[in-house]
Amino acid sequence: MSTQSSVVTSATELRAYAPTADLTVSPPPSRIERARPRTGTSPDNLRTEPGPVRFIIITLAVTFLSVFVVLPLVVVFASAFSKGIGAYLAALGEPEALAAIKLTLLVAAISVTLNLVFGVIAAWAIAKFDFTGKTFLITLIDLPFSVSPVISGLVFVLLFGAQGFFGTWLQAHDIHILFAVPGIALATIFVTFPFVARALIPLMQEQGTQEEEAAISLGASGLQTFFRVTLPNIKWGLLYGVLLCNARAMGEFGAVSVVSGHIRGETNTMPLLVEILYNEYQFVASFAIASLLAMLALITLVVKTVLERRLDEGQEPRDH
């Protein structure tokens, strides 16, 4: 492996990070192994820090992550089970909890499906063709990552609220968007908009157009080419985008909170119910719902790690 290739990879990776406030591509663990300081001629003590310094740095890193990241996660489960497993299960069996779970699943299904279709279409246009303004278009797609969740909800209130641009018309026709499922879905689509496109664009750009061009010249139609040639090549990347999109869709709080209206049993998603129960001092119930969301996050992380390894392997032959 030449140093040249690793430098190029780092440039590509930086580009993948570039204008976003959410890192959809994190370095796969296998790269770290590869990057171990290779055999050198200079004595070891010149290429690493003295033992005590190493010890202090590792201790600081481990302590910081344990206190600020691991401990909050532990608190979620400890609080959820603080009154025993019976109370935990009872809290999850409440009609309110079940309604919130159902609404969260519904909203995630709607927004992930729409963003999946859009993401693939957008990635095809952006990755497979050259046109001016491409960077600008990618920046627009990334925009929701850099907008505060609260503002993501606010923009829909301004459009569809009683005093909003379409408010009077909607009221006259008795159409409910705000404080109802359509509004919650719209806000969720907005905040999860970039995930799938973001995962696919770098991958499809790297794969180029040769395989597709060969298929077309052999007489395949556009759709055949996509489903037989492109889709198998991007399936892990697609899954990766969908996974992160889903995690955010189910966990979104700020944007949904603004448009939901907090109607109990009707427009409360799981994160909103966590807030309501917590503010009512129903800690076991609140943390029981929170523990489901925390498990979703942990599963997402595990699957993500597996997918990253797949993606890394998939790219290996192209690198060399």
């Binding site: 890192l23 909050p72 996660l73 979620v76 279409i121 850099s146 209130v157 966990g251």
Partner: protein, 278 residues
């Protein structure tokens, strides 16, 4: 829209996919954001200025931007230390801790919010010992700061990590063989080449903290002028049906985050022109 077409590829579907992309993008992203700016133009400049410079708004903006800046600074330092440990050293549980860095990304913000509050509340696992020392974290600005540190740490780590991994070891060896001691090599050779990535990570963590809502509001205390963040003030104004106020604050925050994206993009370009120089 200035997306001119100059297609070179012989693949089909450009017109269709580009058309659908622009349509969907316009409906979901551009129209709602345009609505925000249109709403702002309904205000006169004096009204807009009056809202932004009112005491409560100014304090909320100060709290959001000031604490975000401090939290991003802590993330910068701790993130660098974490990256260094993860990339350069071998220790038990290293891979696990590498995965743990992503938890603040993955954990829904409301869950992070209630968990941090529970942890730092007066009777919490960390809140109780801190209270004995006379430090109150939950329901004070310190709590806001803690939540912002939590939410920002992956941005610095995940931005700097790939750059440190790909850093050419030969440069270090050259510095060492030319007689530089380790201290010099780290601070004069390695850290300078990480600067673009460090600044990018800092900017991303800062931007995220400024807009953050869910993980902050539980632990914040939300006292006007003291521990009320700008996103919460937007929500409060909305619930009072003072849409103009909410919009004006939102526009200021949005412009600030656009400036940050712009800065990050410039940083990336700068980083890319530096890399091929090797």
């Amino acid at each position: 829209m200035s997306i001119a077409v100059a297609r070179r590829s012989s693949l089909p579907g450009f017109g269709l996919t580009m058309g659908l992309t622009l349509t969907w993008l316009s409906i979901i992203i551009l129209l709602p954001l345009a609505g925000l700016f249109l709403k702002t133009f309904e205000l006169s400049l004096d009204q807009f200025w009056g809202i932004i410079t009112s005491r409560r708004t100014l304090n909320a903006l100060k709290i959001s931007f000031g604490l975000s800046f401090l939290a991003a600074l802590v993330n910068l330092v701790m993130g660098t230390i974490i990256v260094w440990a993860l990339v350069r050293y071998r220790f038990p549980g290293r891979r696990l801790f590498d995965a743990i860095v992503d938890i603040p990304f993955a954990l829904p913000t409301a869950v992070a919010g209630v968990a941090l509050t529970q942890l730092f509340a007066q009777k919490g696992w960390l809140g109780a010992p801190l209270a004995e020392l006379g430090i109150k974290v939950a329901f004070t600005p310190i709590g806001i700061f803690i939540a912002m540190v939590f939410i920002g740490i992956p941005f610095v780590v995940r931005t700097v990590q790939p750059v440190l991994i790909d850093l050419d070891v030969e440069i270090e060896e050259a510095a060492a063989s030319l007689g530089a001691n380790r201290w010099h090599t780290v601070f004069r050779v390695i850290l300078p080449s990480l600067i673009p990535a460090l600044l990018t990570g800092f900017a991303l963590a800062f931007a995220r903290a400024v807009g953050e809502y869910g993980s902050v509001i539980f632990i914040a205390g939300n006292l006007p002028n003291v521990s009320e963040i700008a996103p919460l003030l937007i929500v409060i104004r909305l619930s009072e049906f003072r849409y103009a106020d909410a919009t004006a604050i939102a526009v200021v925050m949005l412009l600030a985050s656009f400036l940050i994206i712009f800065a990050v993009n410039r940083l990336q370009r700068w980083a890319q022109t530096r890399i091929p120089a090797h």
